[in-house]
């Protein structure tokens, strides 16, 4: 039996191979990556950072991202707000509750391209025991085996029960928190 590929199959086969080559799996390069947030303390910006987190972007094809999947885990206990008293306070049950909820996760399987190089990942954020749908806009710049993913979004802290009791009133600590990320990814494989 002959096993050679018939000429009529070459074009669709080549197309299939090329699209598979474009859709790549990406993993985080932690050293140059930053995940920051800006809270509001007495009407003044109060920056913080999560020093440890991981991100994985599977089957991402920049021109056709629909099949991709974004998975992010954030070690909440790595939060640092540069002030010893604040860092001690945010561990407690009224704020992040490190003991019960040391990790947050974001999973998105709905990733769309909104413009050239601009995307929107719609998924679910699990934080302090609450799960909420969240839209994460990001830009994508790829060169060779490395890519930069950058974006920012607002998170309403009360949706996740962060800052309860007397802190739930947003007058001293604002209710909205700006989350910013600038992460470096490397192609896997």
């Amino acid at each position: 039996m002959e096993t050679r590929v018939r000429p009529a199959w070459i074009v669709p086969l080549a197309f299939l191979i090329s699209t598979q080559a474009l859709a790549a799996d990406w993993k985080l390069d932690p050293a140059p990556s930053r995940l920051e947030y800006v809270a509001t303390f007495e009407k003044t910006a109060a920056p913080g950072v999560f020093k440890e987190f991981d991100a994985r972007l599977a089957r991402f094809e920049p021109d056709k991202p629909e099949g991709a999947k974004l998975d992010v885990t954030v070690k909440i206990t790595s939060a640092d707000m540069k002030n010893g008293d604040v860092n001690r306070a945010i561990r407690g049950p009224e704020w992040f509750d490190f003991a019960k909820f040391p990790q947050a996760e974001f999973h998105a399987e709905d990733i769309r391209r909104v413009a050239a190089g601009r995307y929107l990942a719609r998924g679910v954020l699990s934080l302090k025991g609450a799960k909420k749908e969240l839209e994460v806009p990001f830009t994508w710049q790829e060169s060779g085996n490395a890519a930069t993913m950058e974006g920012e979004l607002n998170v309403e802290r009360l949706q996740f029960g962060i800052g309860t009791g007397e802190w739930a009133n947003g007058s001293t600590i604002g209710l909205g928190v700006r989350v910013k990320f600038n992460v470096r990814l490397r192609k896997e494989g």
Partner: protein, 184 residues
Amino acid sequence: MLANTAEAWGAPAKFFHWTVALLILLQIPLGFAAALWRLSPLKLELFVWHKSTGMLILVLMLARLAWRLANPSPALPPQTPAWERRAAHASHVLLYALAIALPLSGWVINSAAAVPFSVFWLVPLPAIVTPDEHLEDLAKLTHFSLLVALCLVLAVHVGAALRHHLIKRNDILIRMLPGRWRHA
């Protein structure tokens, strides 16, 4: 008269004296309340009031120092002994220095502790030192030591003013009072 003369304080000098006196009187209990209150939104609000008042005192004191240097000061009574003149001069230098150094040391605490702060919730205050926990502890100790020194010098200042008024019966105290009480 705005400017001071050899006999009398002008209105700006009196304004500076009594405004800063009132603010310092508010500032000390405010500082203790803020420092000792349990962690709560009220504690944070007390600190904003304390720090904002401190910055206001600093600005007033710098303006007051410039005004004092640009103006003559009313003379002490001619019979004042030399040691009293030296003591009066030294205590006034100390009062000015402490009223300036206290808010500055507070500013160092806030900067070293990296606490976000806007004066009266309006004007973000830049940091004057980089965040550093050891410096924060040192600045807190300095702030408290300066406060103790201020209280001692204030006691001398008030005691001396009352002595001039009640015992020596001169116009040292009266001449610092606002106009309408001067001849009471």
